[in-house]
């Protein structure tokens, strides 16, 4: 590192500048992700009636399953918030603890989702059954992939936290992860309303 050329304060100043840019960029990324999900939602809404004589949402969705996943994901969003609070309190242990809880809840959510998918496929309702099911699997699956990536991201962050502690850089990373996780929560609320609740109604 060539930081010896400048004082630590100056370097810290530059680092903070860089990190604030990255948070701004991350917000823009989230906007693009909103568009991505928006397109998938639009596709789903257009194709929801195209069941090709196959099963409809009403026949497939089980209320118990999606209520439990909603509860788990909302809780994980809450725990990720607690993690950020611990970060601001400069409590590394608390931060890592709540991140681990968040990951575990995310994993549980994924587990339920995968099981739901497997059940559907077992019942003969797979991605190739009808346009409606293609749209369903892709919309919900894309959210699931986002959750999966979030979990791997978080694991990476925990390792970095153990190595570097709470610094300007790791702080920004945790903040962005928190944004991402809340964002997935919001997307899920829309999924819940548009896909599941409207599906069973």
């Amino acid at each position: 590192m060539a930081q010896h050329i400048v004082s630590p304060e100056v370097h810290e100043h530059h680092t903070q500048e860089q990190e604030s840019l990255k948070t701004a960029g991350f917000w823009l990324f989230l906007i693009s992700d909103v568009i991505l999900f928006g397109t998938l939602f639009a596709t789903y809404v257009v194709l929801v009636g195209h069941t090709n004589g196959g099963p409809t949402g009403k026949e497939l969705f089980e209320i118990q399953g999606f209520v439990i996943s909603t509860f788990i994901l909302l809780t994980s969003s809450f725990t990720s918030g607690l993690a950020v609070l611990q970060m601001h309190a400069k409590n590394l242990k608390g931060l890592i603890f709540w991140l681990v809880v968040t990951i575990l809840l995310g994993g549980a959510f994924l587990f339920i989702e995968i099981e739901e998918f497997l059940t559907l496929i077992h019942e003969g309702a797979n991605i190739g059954t009808s346009a409606f099911l293609s749209a369903f699997f892709v919309l919900v699956g894309t959210h699931g992939i986002h959750v999966t990536l979030g979990i791997f991201w978080c694991i990476g962050l925990i390792i970095q936290l153990r190595k570097h502690g709470i610094t300007t850089v790791t702080k920004r990373k945790i903040t962005n992860f928190g944004l991402y996780w809340h964002f997935l929560d919001v997307i899920w609320i829309f999924l819940l309303s548009v896909v599941y609740l409207m599906g069973v109604m």
Partner: protein, 656 residues
Amino acid sequence: MWDSIKEFAADFFVTGDPLIYGADVSIALVSIAIVFVLTYFKKWKWLWREWLTTVDHKKIGIMYLIASLLMLFRGGVDAILMRMQLALPDVEFLQADHYNAIFTTHGTIMILFMAMPMMFALFNMVVPLQIGARDVAFPFLNALSFWMFLFGAMLLNISFVIGGSPDAGWLSYPPLSELSGSPGRGQDFYIWGIQISGIGSLATGINFIVTILKMRAPGMKLMKMPLFSWSVLSASITILFAFPILTVTLALLFLDRYFGAHFFTLDGGGMSMLYVNLIWMWGHPEVYIVVLPAFGIFSEIVATFSRKTVFGYNSMVFAMMVISVLSFFTWVHHFYTMGSSADVNAFFAITTMAISIPTGVKIFNWLFTMYRGRIKFDLPMLWTMGFIPCFLVGGATGVMLAVAPANFQYHNSYFLVAHFHQVLIGGVVFGYLAGIYYWWPKLFGFKLDEKRGRWGFWFWNIGFYLCFFPQYFLGLDGMTRRVYTYGWDRGWAALNFASTAGAFLMGVGFIFQVWQIAYSVRKGERDKTGDIWNGRTLEWSIPSPPPVYNFARVPQVQHVDDWWREKEDRENGIVRPQPELEPIHMPKNSGIPFIMSSFWFLIGFGFTFDWIWLVIIGFLGVFGSMYARSFTYDVDYYIPVDEIKKTEQKLRGATT
């Protein structure tokens, strides 16, 4: 064993056409030559250190430029081949399927792998210099965008010799582009080539929004920002909202083809009209994405070469923003004839016409920037002058096409082909060429030769009108686009022949430009002042080519056209204070963008050939690269003051 190898080769390599064998041989020869030269001159290390791992926006800009010029050549050859096939009725130069592949790759390459990278070349070459920044907001991401684009483009381009070219049109409407209509590999190359480079484009959009919003030199309020940077901002915002739609659309088409989903298929309840809507929700903004920066370029050039402040700055900014918003509300005009109700067609006809209003205002503003100025017709200005009539007529035919009831008679005909070539060549290509001529000395330190450039200009322009004006009449006479042949009884021979002649003239123009570059590298006028055009904006205040850190001192901006004002001040004996030099904070080079993009290439290639093992390797590589980057904390360095002083002295020695 031997049989299975033969079977594999027949599937893997494209066979059966002498043109393709020729391409095979030339690709092999060129590759061998490149490897030989690099090895012989011991340049591998240099290539890796200076180019493949660079995060410097100027070098990335230059690489974009080179790639886009190569793609312009490839797309141009496609165009010439098509025009040769259509020169006369019943020509048997190309087979139907070969012709179909050529117009598909021509369109795809010209929009996505020529116009887009040429635009990004200009973004990269100019924006940080123009706003007084030392690099873009995310230099690493910038390099990643470039390599994603390049590997995506390569993926599409190798389809010519391996696996087969896509041949379902540049927007690949399903169900033709589904497995039922296009069972070959070409369509998968198309999807992954665009998908990979599209992710790069989205990242570039985000990068430049943050760069422009957060990294302007102190004092440069948004309304004091040069108009080119404004145009980049508006284009980048449009990218941010449009490109995710493309990503989703192509992903859905891929899922249809690969996993048997039914989004757009003939059976299973698929709906091809949905695809047409989605692709144009991206596609129409895309047209404005590429043309907005051209508007910015003209604004800079007109002001510089008329030696006058640009007229109606506020109007110009407002017009660009209106265009980028309206561009999201016109997509249906690409398919008025798909049975939409009169309400829908009327609405989109009005929005489409409305978008011509701010565009027209910009033309007036350019004209009145020239009014009461002192106009010099150097090459950049010459291309701008070529642009104005061309874009006016192209815009007018656009308004004609917007008239929904009349559109039923133009749609999918050569009238449409002539129109969009007129706006895309007359607007985008002329604009980018003007921009390249304008900023070339800044990036390379020498001017491109005027004389050869003028020959190029006139061949391009005369060729253009000769090529595309006949096509308006062919369209009105019932010639539809994408036909690979037609009969003598149609009476289209003379106009088609003229059109082909025009295409060749444009080809000659391009050859002149290549000659011009080759000639100027050795004999072009050297730029010793850094301000070869008597410019107005910050990029002209630093040496050409700029040092790696661009600005030794971050400029303090006071006005629009700040550099021009500073020069005026100097003439009046006012010298702005020069703050002390400080060590400069710079990003470190990284090989990860190159490596990660090559893994993306493997993913695309693997999906195209159903080689799941390759896809898995690719994904592992991509995630490995992301992790490696996330765990890298040593990403920057400082340039000490002594070194800055030395560099500045060397660069400015002759002038100051």
